[in-house]
């Protein structure tokens, strides 16, 4: 039976059928649906950890206990989990461990486009890269077998276009995971599992020897293959790029790499021996290209294709034409029409009714420096709110604000961080601010969910990934428990209340926290009657438009409200200087 699945779903399915029973991850585009899908299978334990490092430790622990495990994250999540990846390569495991990690070339939804193939080499962990969903399913099984054969975590790398693309997967409706057998017994093995220097020194040679064996494996595995064709050009590619290149160079000979680290030297030399010229087509870093050059094999690669951004068949074709590798004429293609009509851009925006909007309007008016973080509220940097001054990575806001404070911007400075991001990596910097006598005001933009990735649960929602009711960590109690004395809670769309609290905190000499709490408008779906604009009173001054709320539209004489979009939050009523906007109480 054939079924359409995304790469994320297919990997989860493959992991499930391979007997994985424990999964842990942290949401992050484009990898979120790996763990969501895995959580839907019967008989498995799947969890959202507060961050990727915790998730990886959980996966490693399950594998120590003798149970196959799956850990998922987006590419930058592996930065957070890197410490654990490195020790797990030294210790090895006691059952298969698959780390699924999704890169985001082109940064559809990320702060950078780091190439995580480098982590494989850096940590000495083998890495596989599927090129479509069927391979994602199959590679999950292969990765787990490899993990057990070689006693190492195995990384499966996705990119946005393998994570979020759907393609056909062979599904056997009768297939079930292997029966739960006795776990491989856990044994206390100090030399293997306790990474004190003396033991780690003995483990490092084991790691190097293992990579040698994996290199041998790479020579024979069907994951890598030479696909014979016209030998004028030999194309080297993996993952999504392999599929693009297959369309642009339908006749060429290919070296198709399903295992991207370590690489098979003998096969590469065999390939180089049969083709006249080699073209390495890879997104982001010249990872393969450098390995070829180290072997003394001349190639074209980054001299033809860019080192930045996402590839596509169009990009590959145009670059190859420009380099004289392909002829210019392609049937069906014509240049874009000359047009002088500008198409207005449409970046993502905060939803109608969103509490972040009220918060940012007040922060902007207050003229404060705002150190931001990762989440929907990052949109507060864009026009017309223009309130955010910084966004770097998960959890950076609070530490950076504290550093700014100590570095000479002591007045009117706040950190803004979401609830899920606070649980991810905001607690340690919060403790640091308090401990090191900072006085930063931290605003927790608490909408009760992980909104940007699609409303995932977290430790503050009261539910697990598998929708079981659980302990709901109380933010206010937690923060008071750390030692903060000045903690206030308010709805940021009640602008007067929020402003009063903000000014009080800014004046204060102690580190403090404001919990700006308003449920995510998209999730709560709460609606009140939309306000009305009195055209007689409306001066069409545009003040309400500056809150950047989609239902407000400037007409010729006055502003109007698109009632289909409006949630009736009433924020515009509060900002109108001529009292032209009014709303019924309900």
């Amino acid at each position: 039976m054939k079924e359409l699945m995304t790469g994320n779903e297919a990997l989860a399915y493959g992991a499930y059928l391979s007997g994985v029973r424990v999964g842990a991850g942290y949401p992050g585009t484009p990898g979120t649906q790996i763990m969501e899908k895995f959580a839907s299978f019967p008989g498995v334990h799947a969890e959202w950890a507060p961050n990727e490092k915790v998730a990886l430790d959980v996966g490693i622990g399950a594998a120590f206990a003798g149970t196959r495990a799956l850990v998922s994250m987006k590419h930058v999540g592996l930065n957070v989990a890197a410490d654990s990846l490195f020790y797990a390569v030294y210790t090895g495991l006691n059952a298969g461990l698959l780390i699924a990690c999704a890169d985001d070339p082109g940064m559809h939804s990320s702060q950078n486009e780091q190439d995580n193939r480098n982590y494989a080499k850096f940590a000495r962990a083998p890495m596989l890269e599927p090129s479509d969903s069927e391979e994602a399913k199959q590679f999950a099984a292969t990765a787990l077998e490899m993990s057990e054969t070689f006693d190492t975590p195995v990384i499966v790398r996705f990119v946005t276009r393998t994570s979020h693309s759907s393609s056909v997967v062979d599904v056997d409706p009768a297939a079930v995971p292997p029966p739960v057998k006795e776990n491989k017994p856990y044994k206390r093995e100090i030399g293997k599992f306790v990474m004190v220097p003396g033991n780690a020194r003995r483990r490092h040679p084991v790691v190097e020897e293992r990579i040698g064996k994996l290199r041998e494996y790479a020579e024979t595995t069907p994951l890598n293959r030479i696909e014979p064709g016209n030998d004028d050009w030999g194309i080297v590619a993996s993952g999504a790029v392999y599929q693009y290149a297959r369309e642009v160079f339908p006749e060429a000979t290919f070296l198709r790499l399903g295992m991207v680290y370590p690489l098979p030297e003998k096969r590469i030399r065999e390939f180089a021996g049969r083709v006249k010229k080699i073209l390495v087509i890879e997104e982001l870093d010249p990872f393969f290209e450098e390995q070829f050059r180290l072997l003394g094999i001349p190639v074209s690669g980054k001299d033809v294709f860019p080192i930045v951004g996402e590839f596509s068949p169009s990009l590959i074709r145009q670059a190859a034409i420009k380099a004289g590798i392909l002829p210019a004429a392609v049937s069906g293609f014509s240049a874009a029409p000359a047009s002088d009509i500008p198409i207005p851009v449409r970046p993502p925006i905060l939803c109608p009714g969103c509490g972040h909007r009220g918060m940012f309007t007040v922060l902007k008016e207050a003229g404060v420096v705002v150190m931001g973080d990762i989440g929907c509220y990052t949109l507060g940097a864009a026009s017309p709110l223009e309130a955010l001054h910084f966004c770097g990575c998960m959890g950076a806001s609070i530490g950076v604000a504290h550093g700014m404070d100590k570095g000479g911007i002591p007045d009117r400075l706040v950190a803004v961080i979401g609830d899920s991001t606070l649980f991810h990596s905001g607690l340690h910097p919060l403790i640091n601010t308090l401990y090191n006598q900072g006085k930063t005001t931290t605003i927790i933009a608490d909408n009760g969910t992980t909104s940007m990735t699609g409303h995932q649960h977290h430790p503050g929602t009261g539910y697990t990934l598998q929708k079981q009711p659980t302990v709901k960590v109380d933010l206010e109690r937690m923060i008071r428990g750390i030692g903060f004395n000045k903690v206030d809670v308010c709805d940021p769309n009640k602008r007067d209340d929020f402003r009063k609290i903000l000014e009080d905190h800014l004046k204060s000499d102690e580190a403090s926290v404001i919990i700006a709490r308003r449920p995510c408008a998209l999730q709560s779906r709460e609606r009140r009657t939309p306000p009305r604009i009195d055209p007689e009173l409306c001066l069409n001054c545009g003040t309400c438009l500056d809150i950047g709320c989609p239902p407000l539209i400037q007409q010729e004489d006055c502003v109007s409200i698109n009632e289909a979009l409006c949630t009736g939050c009433g924020l515009c009523v509060q900002v109108c200087p001529s009292d032209a906007i009014s709303q019924e109480e309900n």
Binding site: K2, L4, T29, P30, T32, Q33, H108, S109, D132, T160, R161, H164, S165, S166, S167, V168, A240, Q243, Y244, R246, E247, S312, P313, S314, R317, V330, G332, F333, S334, A336, P337, S339, I341, P342, I343, P344, V345, R346, P347, P348, I349, L350, C351, C376, S383, P384, S451, M452, T453, G454, L522, G542, L545, D546, G548, P550, L552, I553, Q554, A564
Partner: protein, 195 residues
């Protein structure tokens, strides 16, 4: 079996992902190899979104190539115009006569192109442009959120598959309580579209 490349363009939240799933599953029912590509997540909320759907004997890339798309399904006028360079010279564009002004337009900092300008732009590729009031037809069927299904209905006249196949796929993919409504919207589009 000739390849057919589709591009669906709209605003995040308009239902392009559901429509692309219906289109992809229909292709599968008709015996094509199928691939799709899109970007998921609330990150796209309110922003430009595009879905690629490809039918063929064997499809490699999930992304449509510039200048190769056979059909463009525009859920919103300016979004249809944005993806123009993907169209081939014999393409057909189905465009929803529906405006969602981008924030820059509501703020008065950018101009929304006129219907005529958008039509001229799309026709400059040499293809045909079919206008539909898909939001109105969807509203008549029960909910304007089904505009995408109306557009698919119009498209279905040109790309094969009897109505039973499309209606069956809709039934498979839409939550049970919305099936009838969506099928009605699809048929409204099919009746309104080119015969």
């Amino acid at each position: 079996m000739k390849k057919i490349d589709y591009l669906l363009a709209g605003v995040g939240g308009q239902g392009t992902i559901l429509a692309s799933r219906i289109l992809a599953h229909t292709g599968l029912e008709l015996g094509y190899d199928v691939k799709t590509a899109e970007v998921h997540g609330m990150a796209q909320r309110g922003g430009s979104v595009e879905s690629h759907v490809r039918w063929g004997k064997k499809v490699h890339s999930p992304l449509v190539e510039h200048g190769m798309a056979d059909y463009l399904i525009g859920f919103e006028m300016v979004e249809a115009a944005r993806w123009l360079t993907y169209l081939n010279n014999n393409s057909v564009t189905f465009i929803n006569r529906f405006r969602i002004p981008p924030l820059l337009v509501t703020l008065g900092k950018a101009r929304y192109p006129s219907e005529k300008e958008i039509e001229n732009l799309l026709q400059s590729r040499g293809g045909k442009v079919k206008w539909l009031s898909a939001d109105d037809l969807a509203k008549d069927a029960g909910n304007p959120a089904m505009a995408g299904v109306v557009l698919l209905g119009a498209l279905s006249n040109l790309v094969g598959g009897g109505r039973e196949i499309w209606l069956k796929v809709i039934k498979q993919l839409v939550p049970a309580r919305f099936v009838e409504m969506n099928q009605k919207a699809f048929l409204a589009g099919r009746d309104a579209g080119p015969g």
